[in-house]
Amino acid sequence: MSNELIDFVIVSVALLAIGIYGLSVKRNFIRMLFAVEIIINAANLNLVAFARFLPHSGGQTFALFSIAIAAAEVAVGLALIIVAYRMYQNIDVADFRSLKG
């Protein structure tokens, strides 16, 4: 195996930093969801990389759980986007001032 653990970890750090940049700068709800997805994928890459280099099945199992939970999170997040869009006719988080029903 020619690739080392540190290469994968560096890519993961880069993706994490890009995700944090998106989460802090963007005001569009859907783009913030993109940033969250990128961060979750960086974490999964780390889990699988460490599972490969310290041969243990725990990392892969945990990554599978993480992917399934992320699917649930995206479903709820998109439902929230649709509700907020119906209420405010906008997907800019700065406009979501009120939490009234």
């Binding site: 653990l5 994490l16 890009i18 940049y21 479903a75 006719q89």
Partner: protein
């Protein structure tokens, strides 16, 4: 030493992650996000974890990205192309990104990670399946409950409350 395949996948993943956040159109952004998720699946194959890669392609590239694209198509056309952001906040965000990259990168380069190598074969997927059904079975049951409750929650949240459909039905 990295090989060219790794380098190609890394460039694809990082460039499409940046494109997903910076493209003017949200639809192209969603397609670029698909590239990032597919690149991560490629890394999983490089890491000898074909089962997780398959799961990643089926769940992320196949369903989550498509779901996001459908939601983007549900919002108004001008909102898809709208890009409002504070330039000061943008520079602060880029600074934060560079700080995180440099500081975490320095920590990782100075840690003992670079000396970890392995010659052992990777974990067999049969072992993962066995783990799921023996050691992790309570977690599997809880995950099933979480998934079904989140689907119920999403349906309840996205339901219309104004009764438009009922009125149409009576007409």
């Amino acid at each position: 030493m990295v090989d060219t395949l790794f380098l190609g996948i890394a460039v694809l993943t990082i460039v499409s992650a940046i494109a997903a956040l910076e493209m003017r159109s949200l639809i192209y952004g969603g397609l670029a996000l698909m590239g990032t998720l597919g690149g991560i699946a490629g890394f999983f194959i490089l890491l000898d974890s074909p089962f997780v890669a398959l799961f990643q392609i089926a769940v992320y590239v196949g369903s989550i990205a498509v779901l996001i694209l459908f939601v983007i198509m549900l919002v108004k056309r001008e909102l898809i192309f709208q890009k409002k952001e504070d330039p000061k906040r943008r520079y602060a965000g880029i600074g934060l990104m560079l700080i995180i990259m440099i500081s975490l990168g320095a920590v990782i380069f100075n840690s003992g990670i670079s000396s970890i190598t392995t010659d052992e074969p990777s974990v067999d997927y049969r072992e993962i399946g066995k783990d799921f059904l023996t050691y992790y079975w309570p977690a599997l049951v809880v995950m099933a409950l979480v998934l079904s409750s989140s689907i119920t929650g999403a349906l309840v949240l996205a339901r219309r409350h104004d009764g438009v459909e009922d009125e149409q039905r009576t007409d």
